[in-house]
Symmetry: C2
Subunit: 332 residues, 2 copies
DNA sequence: TTGTATGCGTTATCAC
DNA sequence: GTGATAACGCATACAA
């Protein structure tokens, strides 16, 4: 391995001068700088990140912990985070938490072990971070789902507002028997509950009564679960003319389930999702959805970790992502 | 930051003993070991990976370079690689190359700069790695697409065999006017060309003539490109009763494009893809496809880098992934 | 079984 | 402007 020592010898300077050139510090003469750069080129020298890290205490890597990179939504998000982090000079290491509280706590511990400078955590289950006091003071940004009451930097989805807008849209299209396919309501701060509130608020505003038979809870937000839910909803015999799906991924499954049962979208049932994953524009029929600005979210999240790395004691900040309703064929 | 020194002081031993406990080496008394473990727990000590790396010369991280983590296929693949690497004690850092040769060469250089122990490169464009001799001897495994004639460890897709099987399947269902929606044929070793060969071989075997009007080349393998291709193919007025899509992602677009033009699948046109991404089972109609064993591929790739890290001079190995034909509604 | 000395490649500090 | 020296936290080699 080529070290600064080697470069220094080659250029006839001390290794400190090489360090100064490598890090673009001033106080190095133009002539010497040229000699050093040439020596670097010739020798194929690369800085040893471990040594630099050991010395400076920073790795230049931020972690991104998501439930499952395979779910289109998180792949989508990861792409934006990687891009935004790159612009700020950070690399991104991805962890998968498996949508379990244990995995999420692990990811935090793990992130510290690997000495990531910070962590962006897309938490869906971890609702009591208080129980992990050892992690206090670590640059941690919550992204997307949960709400921790101002205790963390947080970039939130427009859960309630978005779902309310989606439900209202169905009502305005004439739907009166609107079902919601949602997740388990484990407590009152998580994404699922927020979206459910939005649904209820919209119904109330439009004077539509709530029928508990039209609320369908899923164990996980997968396509398969959505498909099954749709089938059972139809099989139950209750009349339905609209479905609000908790995510686009679930909506893809619902779309398929309705087809399994011979119902046409939007003629028999209108359907709307949440997330605007790329696939949604290409289904048959194409899927109406709530489209939060993912790029904006990723940028805010990276910005927040970067800020917290620089200023660990800064007060926490909370953002809610902007969104728009994208109307496609499934609610025409 | 808590160091071994601190733990040693707390446990009343030397830091060397702490090191031995942490690394599970024997030669430490049971009593002392307990004391040390307790001290570690109390102090919240975590090993400093940078220091260890600096000393050992290894980072425990392997890079995974893919064109775009946002494409379902690569997200899918990444999930498997992360899992397989975890089992071998490696972490994975993901790089996006943007499907450009420059990005792919960069990924290699970058990987070395960050001192990853090795790199799994899912190359789609880089066809002349010879031009990068500086990278010789670096543990590099090619995954998926290209073929480098035995110069690298390589886990290949069953490009030719799979596409041939897909095309044959369409023929056996009675199709005689089979189109292929493929990528640019830039040279004779890449994925696109291999798949095209498979298509031609199947037609020849079934005695079906090749009509150049039925070969449609895409600039990129996106859903949007697939949709446009389907529309133009239909608008061209040539009769078509089957379509082989170069990837499932493209097939999703083709499915949508056919719907745009009012053609029914499979009644008017049968359609088959390649990859078996999760979405394929949930489209309407569901998509028949060539399903390579992604888990198997990820495991082989990780195994190969791990081996090469241990034995840099071992002769290269080539694998072709097994596959099966998954028949769904789009070719019924 | 445990402790001591030394060095990995880099950067901060301070002297020249 | 440039260079010498001392850390950063850990693990190897060897001494006790």
């Amino acid at each position: 391995m080529v070290t600064m020592e080697d470069v220094a010898r080659l250029a006839g300077v001390s290794k400190m001068t090489v360090s100064n050139v490598v890090n673009n510090r001033d106080g190095v003469g133009d002539l010497v700088r040229q000699r050093v750069l040439e020596a670097i080129r010739q020798s194929g020298y690369r800085v040893n990140v471990s040594a630099r890290t050991l010395r400076s205490g920073r790795t230049g890597v931020i972690g991104l912990a998501v439930p499952d990179i395979e779910l289109p939504y998180f792949g989508h998000l990861a792409a934006h985070v990687i891009e935004a982090a790159g612009r700020q000079g950070f690399h991104v290491a991805i962890e998968q938490t498996g949508a379990a509280a244990a995995g999420e706590a692990d990811a935090i511990a793990h992130s510290r072990t690997l000495h990531f400078d910070g962590l962006i955590l897309s938490a869906v289950e971890l609702d009591r971070l208080d129980e992990h006091p050892a992690e206090a003071g670590y640059p941690l940004v919550m992204l997307g789902e949960q709400d921790f009451g101002g205790r963390f930097d947080h970039v939130a989805m427009p859960n309630e507002e978005g779902t309310k807008a989606a439900t209202t849209h169905l009502a305005d299209r004439g739907c009166r028997r609107i079902a919601i396919v949602t997740g388990r309501a484990s407590d009152d701060v998580n994404m699922v509950t927020r979206r459910h509130y939005g649904y209820l608020a919209a119904l109330a505003e439009r004077g539509i009564g709530v029928d508990p038979a039209l609320v369908f809870s899923l164990d996980d937000a997968s396509m398969e679960a959505g498909r099954e839910a749709a089938c059972r909803l139809v099989d139950s015999g209750h009349e339905i003319d609209g479905v609000v799906a908790v995510t686009d991924t679930v909506a893809l499954g619902v779309l398929r389930g309705l087809a399994d049962r011979g119902l046409r979208v939007p003629e028999d049932v209108r359907l709307i999702g949440f997330d605007d994953i790329p696939e949604s524009g290409f289904t048959v029929p194409s899927l109406s959805t709530v489209a939060p600005d993912h790029r904006w979210m990723a940028e805010r999240a990276v910005e927040l970790v970067a800020q917290r790395i620089r200023a660990p004691l800064r007060p926490t900040a909370q953002y809610v992502a902007p969104f728009e309703l994208v109307i496609r064929e499934s609610t025409r």
